[in-house]
Symmetry: C2
């Protein structure tokens, strides 16, 4: 029952638990590059199961599709990725994760300070002035925090 190791999109979906529509979408985003058979249908390899699984894990970690695509581009194109290849990527993710945990922990500690003072005051509260943001735009008492969005005004 496995003349070749090719998988249809439906089979890949079943094996990974990822919706068919999502898999097609991932192709448009450059996360996977399936071949096509003579009829134009996608043909995946078993290595794509791992690839897609990696995508889901990375998403769980909070990475965007673009960031994930960037990592995947570092995998060898010529051969099937091996342990070491995946390991290198995992190390990068580990670093990112460390950073995020640290940020969140710092935020939590600042919140602890706030529970004590109950202030939430623009001038005094640490929460409004995390060291890693603010300050920069030096224009009086504005800019509470430089959050993820670009439009601070």
């Amino acid at each position: 029952m496995h003349p070749t190791d090719a998988l249809t999109i439906g089979q890949l979906s079943t094996r990974t638990g990822i919706a068919v529509s999502a898999i097609r979408y991932y192709e448009t985003q450059g996360l996977i590059h399936p071949d096509r058979n003579t009829g134009g249908q996608r043909q995946f390899r078993r290595a794509d199961i791992r690839r897609l699984s990696f995508v889901r894990i990375a998403q769980q970690f909070g990475f965007t599709i673009d960031q994930i695509a960037e990592q995947l581009r570092m995998l060898p194109k010529a051969r099937t990725p091996n342990k070491a290849d995946w390991g290198r990527i995992a190390v990068k993710f580990r670093k990112e994760l460390d950073a995020r945990i640290e940020t969140l922990t710092k935020l939590r500690d600042d919140l602890d300070g706030c529970i004590g003072c109950g202030c939430l005051s623009l001038q005094k509260c640490k929460l409004y002035n995390p060291e890693d943001v603010a300050r920069t735009k030096g224009s009086g008492p504005r800019y509470l925090m430089g959050d993820t969005s670009e439009y601070t005004d």
Copy 2:
């Protein structure tokens, strides 16, 4: 120059660093409930500065507008919220934060295991089967992880 403590939307925007359009949006989402003057323009109170600042902090923590609105609904409507009121909310957030840090830390530790084995194998890898998710839907070898999205298929 301050006959009453009422603020226009522009003033509130300046004081909080939040765009006027965002403030209007927050009103549609029930985060703030400004009065109107005779001309139909919004009139905010100084307490709204704190309220909006709280919104931004909560967003930094990763909460959605809906979740934030829910918390804000627990503030007293009759009087201006005091330290104790804000403190109670902060405690709830602290708990949520703790949970998130824990999840992320666990994920990181699992990743550490993976760097060692380099597996990323559906059957064996911890990353695919975090204890807190999976299992539930008991239907063969599917459902890698129950991530944030609803459409697992």
